[in-house]
């Protein structure tokens, strides 16, 4: 059923925008090529298809990253944005832009990956200090603190010169507009690798979710599962952030929605997140094009406005034990 939703979402994404040809015309143009309907063909093939593909890849990456990190930390509030992983990627990206190391989007992948990885480690280490269980409270606060420090440094570099500022401001808002296929190709291997690691870890993470001791007694390599999770989260978030900029809340919302449908079984949550997250991001991106007439809103802004209330609802409905 989710595949059908995704199909419809993709069709909507190809169709709706500043120009809205009929769905039929879009499909005909895409199939028959440039000769019959050059206008629609150019629009669809040059603008809409790359953008939709980027949204699918980024959505899938963020959704799975969210599912993984929520299962791993046993924290329903975990999200790359909330935990400061996006901030880590952002800092690394602006360092790369500021020092002239990244002439194009493709070059942003490595710094974004590195930043995401370091930030993930940092936030986990920070919340694992001291005694007692790692509670959602600890982890969220660690994320807030980390994001503050990293964000402060990012601001400093951002203001240092106009060129960096100009490039970074278009990246920092989180958008899939204006990306082309080569940008996608640069990050796709990382997304695929991250997804594969995530799928292979679904079963071990199920066991880890029951507690480390149980997992060990079931013969699961806890350390390997943990390292694998951190690695895949960094791969997925780093790749998604490199191409689209920091987009929050997708990783928070999608696993919750999926768990409402299929329960806590990680082997089902991960594959369904792969479908559900692109649905969400493709649809939000489509809406973001027409929400304000004559002007596109970056999808990162829209996800914040969808995700913020969802987060409020999560804590108000007491789905989250916050002591």
């Amino acid at each position: 059923m989710l595949s059908v939703v995704l199909g419809l979402a993709v069709l909507a994404s190809l169709t709706i925008g500043a120009e809205t040809p009929s769905p039929l015309r879009v499909l005909t143009a895409a199939v028959t090529g440039w000769d019959t309907d050059p206008e629609a063909w150019t629009l669809v093939v040059h603008y809409r298809i790359p953008r939709t593909l980027v949204a699918i890849a980024v959505g899938a990456a963020l959704g799975i990253a969210g599912a993984m990190i929520q299962a791993y930390t046993r924290n329903p509030l975990a999200d790359p944005g909330i935990l400061g992983v996006n901030a880590g990627a952002a800092l690394a990206v602006i360092v790369a832009i500021g020092f002239g190391l990244a002439p194009g989007t493709a070059y942003l992948v490595w710094p974004a990956l590195l930043g995401a990885l370091l930030a993930t480690f940092a936030v986990l280490l920070l919340s694992a200090t001291g005694r007692g269980p790692i509670t959602p409270v600890r982890m969220t606060l660690a994320g807030v603190a980390l994001a503050a420090v990293l964000g402060g440094i990012t601001t400093t570099i951002r203001l240092s010169d106009p060129v960096t500022f100009e490039r970074f401001r278009s990246w920092a808002v989180g958008s899939v507009a204006g990306r082309d296929v080569s940008d996608l190709a640069a990050v796709l291997p990382f997304v695929v690798a991250g997804v594969l690691v995530a799928v292979s870890l679904a079963r071990p993470l199920n066991a880890v979710a029951m507690g480390e001791d149980v997992a060990r007694s079931l013969g699961v390599g806890v350390l390997r599962a943990r390292l694998g999770t951190v690695g895949s989260v960094a791969l997925l978030v780093g790749a998604a952030t490199a191409v689209a900029g920091p987009i929050g809340f997708v990783g928070l919302m999608v696993p919750h929605a999926v768990r409402l449908l299929v329960g806590n079984e990680q082997t089902r949550v991960v594959p369904l997140s792969v479908l559900a997250a692109p649905c969400l991001l493709v649809l939000t991106d489509t809406v973001s094009r027409v929400l304000v007439p004559g002007r596109e809103i970056p999808v990162g802004v829209v996800t914040a406005f969808v995700g913020g209330p969802v987060l409020l609802w999560l804590i108000r409905s007491r789905q989250v034990n916050t002591q």
């Binding site: 509030l77 944005g81 909330i82 920070l126 919340s127 200090t129 001291g130 005694r131 007692g132 509670t135 409270v137 600890r138 969220t140 606060l141 660690a142 807030v144 603190a145 980390l146 994001a147 503050a148 420090v149 990293l150 964000g151 402060g152 440094i153 601001t155 400093t156 951002r158 203001l159 106009p162 500022f165 100009e166 401001r169 278009s170 920092a172 808002v173 989180g174 929050g248 809340f249 002007r295 809103i297 970056p298 990162g300 802004v301 914040a304 406005f305 995700g307 913020g308 209330p309 987060l311 409020l312 999560l314 804590i315 108000r316 989250v320 916050t322 002591q323």
Partner: protein, 358 residues
């Protein structure tokens, strides 16, 4: 996160001073609190003195004093009194305003993390201020009006959300994350669609800076803020002490908690918005200053004055660091406070983790 409650260690003096007419004037002075505030103010004065002396031309303390007294050469007077003094005074006053604001919010929310930065008032003021700069212009009245409106709007949202106890304790932090995300993403969008120069001006303001502060521009904010602090301490101080004891106790003692809370939130928003309007969002001073004040005074009593003193010291020190930590470069003070504040929050987390209280 409990505040160290060491009421037993609090010593008070209760002087009774006979005044003419056969009456006796009596009052209570918390000795430790007064001492701590005095020391903090001395430190603040010292930091301010250093800030006045340092710069491209360095003046000795004696020369600074001479310039302040109006007995120095024209150049020294221009540098020290004309350029450095407004900025140094602004740091002290704004720091005190942020400290008081933080203490108000932390008391009202009964939550040590309930500072305006975490709840989202700072982000609300910042967004509205940015919008005002980009859409209308960068005059003080415009930006101040915008920042105040933004802060109040967030206050209304927060009050609506907290009905029915929905955002008590840690939930407040999460609600703040949600609000912050929405506000900041909108702000980065506004910066994106504006033209480059206006966007850079807005972004520089958005980083929080005292660069180029002069009495003409920040004077209004300082005067209003100073008056607001005095009024808050005089009118709300005792009632906030009652509120600290809990809703029921406060009601029973005639503290009228609902009204106190309303006034306190209003004063807190006003203070944050004034600082934000004049200098841009300066994060985390409002979070850290009341904590430091309370730890130093080791009491749970009136937190406003120690918070004001610590805030003044923190922002004065942060602005000194912003100007002189890296030779030859001046950073926005907001960057220093956000990095320092984040590190401070980290140490808090580590400490609480060690006690396994989070």
């Amino acid at each position: 996160m409990d505040v160290p409650a060491a009421a037993a260690r609090r010593r008070t003096l209760a002087p009774r001073v006979p005044v003419p007419g056969g009456r006796v004037l009596s009052g209570r002075v918390a000795v430790r609190s007064a001492l701590v505030c005095a020391v903090l103010l001395l430190l603040t004065t010292a930091v301010t003195g250093v800030a006045l002396g340092l710069g491209e031309i360095v003046y000795s303390p004696a020369e600074v004093l001479a310039a302040l007294a109006g007995r120095a050469s024209g150049a020294a007077e221009l540098f020290v009194v004309g350029w450095r003094l407004p900025r140094a005074v602004a740091a002290v006053v704004f720091g005190a305003m942020l400290g008081v604001s933080g203490a108000l919010f932390q008391t009202v929310t009964r939550n040590p993390l309930g500072s305006p930065d975490i709840i989202g008032f700072t982000a609300g003021s910042s967004l509205a201020g940015t919008a005002a700069i980009l859409l209308v212009g960068s005059g003080f009245a415009v930006v101040a009006g915008g920042a105040l409106a933004g802060g109040l709007a967030v206050a209304v949202v927060m009050v609506l959300l907290s009905r029915g106890g929905g955002v008590a304790g840690f939930r407040l932090v999460i609600a703040g994350i949600a609000l912050n995300a929405m506000l900041l993403s909108t702000e980065s969008w506004l910066v994106l669609i504006a033209d480059l120069d206006a966007a850079r001006a807005a972004a520089l303001w958005g980083a929080g800076t005292l660069n180029g502060a002069d009495f003409g521009y920040v004077g209004w904010a300082m005067a209003l803020g100073g008056a607001a602090i005095v009024l808050t301490v005089l009118l709300l101080g005792q009632r906030l002490d009652l509120l600290d004891m809990g809703e029921d106790t406060s009601s029973a003692l005639g503290g009228r908690p609902a009204r106190t809370r309303l006034y306190a939130v209003g004063a807190g928003v006003l203070l944050v918005a004034l600082v934000t309007a004049a200098a841009g969002p300066i994060a985390f001073v409002a979070l850290a200053a009341p904590h430091i004040g309370r730890r130093l005074t080791a009491g749970t009593g009136n937190a406003l004055i120690p918070a004001a003193c610590s805030g003044a010291f923190l922002l004065a020190a942060a602005d000194l660091a912003a100007q002189h930590l890296v030779p030859g470069r001046t950073y926005p003070v907001g960057v220093v406070t956000v990095v320092g504040g984040g590190l401070y929050l980290m140490t808090l987390i580590v400490r609480e983790n060690r006690r396994a209280t989070l």
